[in-house]
């Protein structure tokens, strides 16, 4: 018995070649039975033929150098159209020689979104990123920014007020006094400004030529509408969600009424209301900027949806959390901001990102009120008679850009889900 195996040690034979690696994977998954084998072959042939004719059209016979649309006809894809029109598609009717400005604005916006996605930034840094980023974005888009005195005063009042309630009984006397002073300056200043005693002073920053919102178009418009829609809708949605769970009947009724009203109508009807009905109610000659009206409509709409998402998070918290916070002597603001919301929001981040994705694509609805978002500028490229007859190329290009945005956000959402659940995974 010399060839007997040593005890406690088994020789591991490699599995047969056909069970291993790519070959084995194919056998297990694609050819596990005759029927599966046949289906695999049929599908491969089918997909292959579609793919080959698509590649034939999109790559091998494509034309990227034609000077006009007529040179493109009778061949494959006319990518020359995209080459010719990409600046119109990306930046719309923004003055041609100044189009580096929306480019910088778009890059700033994207950088802001990327930085926001990093969890290490989720504190006071977020405020800095968005203040600086927004300043650069709108300075680039408008070319000139006039910050009125009232805005500074309002910010002072807001910071003071929030600090006073949030840091009550936590901060030392000096810090509290600072908040009180800020709030007092803001309040008194605003009162004097409204009474007309303080002059209408404003900080003018005007390094570039002014470009009004009517000329904006393309990617920056889509990004601004979607990101600022969400940025403003988020705190607003939190307030709505808290209001809906409030003990005060009036506030609760108002919040429920608002949420149900907004959720009961399509976004398109809100946009039409904002662009067609609202001007009729205003006195003649008083007009709000069309872009601003659309932005407000999107904020209101997104707010109602976010409120419902956040309410889900609030409801998932056990009652003990509320009671524990109260037992520690926290007031309502402290309880909500320090105990409840951090837990509730963590639960709802994935559905929130889902909402964001939805709104990123929904912004294209603004084309029905004549705002040139990315999809609408792509449409402009489509109707040019010199380049007529290539809708497939334009829409595929637009779809590709949308896909790049949405897919990266969706991957990020998945990564975030894993990261956030690390603490609670068993």
């Amino acid at each position: 018995m010399t060839d007997s195996l040593p005890t406690g040690e088994r020789r591991q034979l490699a599995p047969p070649l056909i069970e291993r690696g790519a070959l084995g994977w194919m056998r297990r998954n694609l050819f596990s039975s005759w029927a599966n084998g046949i289906i695999t072959v049929v599908l491969v042939v089918f997909v292959g033929s579609i793919l080959s004719s698509f590649l034939e059209w999109a790559v091998f016979t494509a034309n990227v150098t034609a000077a006009t649309g007529s040179e493109c006809h009778g061949q494959g894809a006319c990518w020359a159209l995209i080459v010719e029109k990409y600046r119109l598609i990306f930046f719309g009717t923004f003055p041609y020689e100044q189009q580096w400005r929306p480019l910088v604005a778009s890059i700033t916006l994207l950088a802001m979104l990327v930085m926001t996605s990093d969890r290490r930034m989720w504190n006071w840094r977020l405020l800095v990123i968005w203040s600086v980023g927004s300043f650069i974005t709108f300075l680039m888009m408008f070319g000139q920014i006039h910050i009125p005195l009232s805005l500074f005063l309002a910010i002072a009042l807001l910071v003071g007020g929030v600090g006073m309630s949030l840091r009550k009984a936590i901060a030392d006397a000096g810090e509290m006094n600072a908040y009180r002073t800020l709030a007092a300056i803001g309040l008194i200043g605003l009162a004097l400004r409204i009474a007309g005693i303080l002059p209408a002073w404003s900080l003018d920053i005007a390094p570039l030529s002014y470009v009004e919102t009517g000329l904006w178009g393309g990617i920056p418009v889509t990004l601004i509408l979607a990101s600022y829609g969400l940025v403003f809708a988020f705190p607003y949605g939190i307030l709505l969600a808290l209001g809906r769970r409030s003990d005060l009947p009036l506030i609760r009724a108002l919040c429920v009424g608002f949420i149900e009203l907004i959720r009961g109508v399509p976004l398109i009807s809100l946009l039409i209301m904002a662009s067609v009905m609202l001007p009729l109610f205003l006195p003649s000659g008083v007009t709000f900027d069309k872009f601003l009206r659309a932005q407000v409509a999107i904020i209101l709409f997104a707010g109602a949806y976010i409120a419902e998402v956040i309410r889900g998070g609030l409801q998932s918290l056990p009652k003990g959390q509320y009671e524990a916070a109260e037992a520690l002597g926290f007031n309502y603001v402290q309880k909500t901001a320090l105990i409840i919301l951090p837990q509730a929001l963590r639960v709802v981040i994935p559905p929130l990102i889902n909402t964001f994705l939805g709104f990123f694509k929904d912004t294209s609805l603004v084309l029905i009120i004549g705002i040139f978002d990315f999809l609408n500028t792509a449409n402009q490229a489509l109707v040019d008679p010199n380049w007529a007859g290539f809708p497939a190329e334009i829409y595929m290009f637009a779809a590709l850009i949308y896909f790049i945005f949405c897919y990266s956000v969706s991957r990020y959402s998945k990564h975030l889900e894993v990261e956030l659940n690390r603490g609670t995974r068993h």
Binding site: G69, H73, G74, E84, K85, R87, L88, F91, G92, T93, F94, P95, Y96, Q99, E212, G214, L215, G217, I272, S275, V276, M277, P279, L280, L282, S284, G285, T287, K290, L367, I368, I369, G370, F372, N376, T377, N379, Q380, L382, V383, D384, P385, N386, A388, G389
Partner: protein, 345 residues
């Protein structure tokens, strides 16, 4: 009695002063001048009429009307802010003052001219319902369409006009009624129907823009018959007749210039012309601009910067453009068309 007379006189004077006041004040015009910019409502993108080109600049026949008005008021055709408006928005935008004027393929009808509180100032483009057929059918006139299959959109006046026309000419047709424009086009180009009918300008745009790959523009003809009236023109609000006059005469000036052979190329030489009519038009004999409340060289500025009506038509929708729409009803009255401008004198 004397009191009544005095009151009546006072009232009369007040009315006269009042009307004279509004006629002279021109509050819209003052607002436009103060703003330094004309707010012109255009459409959201129709080939040849209003469209943002590759550089993001608005071009088209309707855009040229905005530019002409700007040239008349400011002496500079570029002082226009274009506000793209959809069909639903356009009237509210004009009523609420979001734009000063519309130049976006709006059909002139009685209700729009009166009940909505607007004034149409002229006709930029005489449109009307037409027919398009594949060339291989060999049809030269709509009268030869007996028994044809016709693609048409439902619930529009287009459908009714079609039925009326065939009945009046004792012909029969098989309608293929499809709701969506894209699907109608696809059905026509794939040969499901022999004829596609809608507004002639839209037919031309469809032919220029939507013919699928192996076929070309040359494979389709638009028949000469036009079976309905769709006069498209600029619109202003009630309330400032002076501004309405400027919009009206800016377009007339373009037509008048074409009639007298003044083009953007030869306008500088025409300044030396001895023809009294041309001298009045170009302002070398002053007076016309003053009557209108603008600079005396207003027509010179329009023609120099925008061109006459024929040039604009040719460049945007006519033979000089991919749309290749024939002048047809939009030819000058001297050439059998409908474009007719009252004399500038």
């Amino acid at each position: 009695m004397r009191k009544v007379m005095m009151a009546a006189t006072a009232g009369f004077v007040a009315v006269v002063l009042g009307t004279a006041g509004t006629a002279h004040a021109g509050k819209e015009l003052d607002a436009i001048k103060a703003r330094g910019q004309l707010l012109c409502g255009v459409g959201t993108g129709t080939a040849g009429f209003h469209l943002a080109n590759t550089q993001g600049k608005w071009v088209g026949l309707n855009v040229d009307v905005c530019r002409a008005v700007s040239a008349a008021i400011f002496g500079d055709a570029d002082k226009v802010k274009y506000v793209p408006l959809t069909a639903q928005q356009r009237f509210t935008a004009l009523q609420s003052g979001e734009v000063d004027m519309l130049s976006n393929n709006t059909t002139w009808t009685l209700t729009r001219d009166t009940a909505l509180g607007f004034d149409f100032t002229g006709v930029t483009y005489y449109d009307g319902q037409g027919f398009m057929v594949p060339k291989k059918l060999g049809v030269k006139s709509a009268k030869e369409l007996n028994g044809a299959t016709v693609c048409v959109a439902p619930g529009t006046t287009t459908e009714l006009n079609l039925a009326d026309y065939f009945r009046a000419n004792k012909m029969t047709f098989k309608p293929v009624v499809i709701e969506k424009v894209d699907e109608i086009r696809a059905a026509f180009f794939s040969g499901r129907c022999d004829v596609y009918t809608t507004d002639a300008s839209s037919l031309a745009a469809t032919r220029a823009a939507n013919v699928p790959a192996p076929l070309t523009v040359e494979d389709f003809v638009i028949l000469p018959e036009i079976i309905s009236k769709e006069p498209l023109g600029p619109v202003v609000r009630h309330g400032d007749s002076q501004f309405a006059d400027i919009v009206r005469w800016a377009l007339f000036a373009m037509v008048e210039a074409e009639e007298y052979g003044i083009t953007s190329k030869n306008v500088d030489e025409m300044l030396k012309s001895d023809n009294p009519t041309i001298k009045r038009i170009l302002g070398t004999t002053p007076g016309m601009g003053k009557a209108l409340g603008v600079a005396d060289n207003w027509v010179y500025q329009i023609i120099k910067q925008v061109g006459n009506y024929g040039e604009s038509f040719d460049r945007n929708v006519g033979p000089g453009s991919p749309l290749k729409i024939a002048r047809g009803q939009n030819a000058l009255w001297t050439q059998g068309g409908l474009q007719y401008a009252p004399p500038i004198r």
